[in-house]
Amino acid sequence: MALTPGLRKVVLTVHVVTSVGWLGAVVCYLALDVTAATSADPQVVRTAYSAMALLVADVIVPLAVASVVVGIVNALGTSWGLLRHYWVIVKLLLTVFATVVLLIESRTVAHLARSAAASPVPGDLPSTLPHSVGGVVVLLTITALSVFKPQGLTRYGWRRQQQRRDPRPLLGG
């Protein structure tokens, strides 16, 4: 499934925007998370949890899902492929892992926001800092993988490469 050069650039642009946007939104979430965990002012804590819930539901989750889907389309539409290079596979696994954890965590954040609004002492609510810090680390790793593209062909990628160089020997098996 090779994309035309024009369409490939469009897909790549959307992929970069959604992926880097996801990282930026998680950094914003981290700032709110630190505020919620450290502020002594109950109203500030409530506001921070409320903003965190909105950010997760309306920005981070849509960007994450879009990043996964567009990333797969981008990989399949170029000669990088989805399973030919180790860095693409590692990136895909990390992205899917981060998205699954995010989808689970989004329920928690929604619950915390409602609890903070209802509680006279919202500062006693448990923090989601380990997840937000972990999320930033994983997304930075994914970004670095995309930039450095460490070499390494999978067996499948190697077979495809050999086939492209000399299709005859592999046609029979």
């Binding site: 000669s79 990136k91 209802a118 006693d124 609510l125 448990p126 070499q151 390494g152």
Partner: protein, 87 residues
Amino acid sequence: MGDDSRSSGGTGSARPGASKAPGAPRWVRVCAVVAGAVLVLLLVLKLAGVGGEHGPGRHMGVGDARSSAVVQDAGPADSVRVDSLWR
């Protein structure tokens, strides 16, 4: 993913004309070992009970006296969508 101009130029460790598929490069093996070690560490911490319960229940008053005291008035997490509450 970016520019795919390198993808056909042999980014893999296979030598041109090699008859045998290359093994996983060192960085992949190192990452696999590190990921495995982190997984084992998390499993050990969970089994040892360090850090309490993990997962959404930790924040929802299940098994955490501190959070349950705070969130006891709130309903189930999935009963109300957050955007309907905060707009």
